[in-house]
């Protein structure tokens, strides 16, 4: 009996991601959720600009490639026109937390009934490793060659904490995929984010701490450890908002 195989919601196109990049794991988790909820046929995904720009080649559902940062706005249009479809955006930290911050905040404030998968790997990967809004203090990148200096570039943005201050969003959780245990938790969060949309509950965002071995200059294994050692202390995992759960209690 097959207990594990590539999910149907992923195409056969091999990922272009670097060896050990955890984008691939997160793609698979999203696809598994689409399979398990039986929603692939009515799902429309929105791809960002950044490393995952070509996500439209990897998901078997209908896909739209958005302008940089505008995925939540495109998703809003799609969902308003087709409320019976399931709509998700898949965005990196440059896309969602820098150039698309306004779209992110306002989609959340409107409690737009969409699912946002937010990949936080603390760097701009596609363009070769520049400082991201989520790069850690002291982190060396191509555009912070002496380490991120808060005097010059301020502090990294904590999206879940920030959005949790809004009345609008239904569900915000931060997870990671740097171990089997954490990946299982991440999948549960992603599933909940889609179930919320099916139930019409509104804006659900799952922030996934992800690795970038190439631009962090580490082995894939060391990069997973860096998530534990450096990222989680600044970006604690957990549920930041869950309106329905709160109301039930």
């Amino acid at each position: 009996m097959v207990v594990f195989d590539k999910p149907h919601a992923l195409t056969d196109t091999p990922f272009h991601y670097c060896p050990g990049c955890t984008h691939g794991i997160i793609h698979r988790l999203v696809a598994e959720v689409l399979d398990e909820l039986g929603i692939e046929g009515k799902t429309i995904g929105i791809a960002p600009v950044g490393c995952s720009v070509m996500a439209y080649n990897y998901f078997n559902c209908d896909m739209i490639e958005a302008a940089h940062g505008r995925a939540p706005a495109v998703a809003t249009g799609v969902k308003r026109a087709n409320p019976d479809n399931i709509v998700f955006s898949y965005q990196g930290d440059g896309d969602l937390a820098s150039i698309g911050m306004a779209e992110t905040v306002h989609a959340a404030a409107r409690n737009e009934n969409i699912t946002v998968i937010f990949i936080n790997n603390a760097i701009y990967g596609m363009t070769g490793g520049q400082m991201a809004p989520t790069s850690l203090v002291g982190q060396v990148t191509q555009t912070s060659p002496y380490g991120r200096d808060p005097k010059m570039c301020g502090y990294p943005v904590k999206i879940c904490e920030m959005l949790s201050q809004l009345e609008g969003p239904e569900y915000l959780e931060r997870v990671t995929v740097n171990s089997v245990k954490n990946a299982r938790r991440a999948k549960a969060a992603i599933k909940k984010a889609f179930e919320n949309q099916i139930a019409g509950k509104g804006f659900s965002l799952v922030e996934v701490l992800s690795s970038c071995p190439t631009n962090w200059g580490m082995t894939p294994d060391a990069a997973l450890k860096w998530i534990d050692d450096k990222m989680i202390p600044y970006y604690p995992l957990g549920v930041y908002k869950d309106r329905s759960a709160k109301e039930e209690n």
Binding site: V3, G20, A183, P213
Partner: protein, 68 residues
């Protein structure tokens, strides 16, 4: 009795599966180089595999099929 099938051509040799295996049964091949130019994963002792799928969970390229 578990069985792992690797889509070896798509393996990028990142080794995340190697570290995920609780039985330490996986390694990156020293001899083989695949189409992509990577040393792909291989299993040292299929008999000892418990089919937990930890390797498949951590594989970023979905190249591992697990049967039990």
């Amino acid at each position: 009795m578990a069985k792992l099938t690797f889509n070896t051509d798509s393996c990028k040799g990142c080794g995340l599966c190697v570290n995920a295996c609780p039985k330490n049964l996986l390694r990156l091949s020293k001899e083989t180089i695949n189409k992509k130019g990577h040393h792909p994963v291989e299993i040292t002792d299929m008999e000892a595999c418990i089919g937990c799928a930890s390797c498949a969970w951590m594989c970023p390229d979905c190249i591992i099929k697990v049967e039990r």
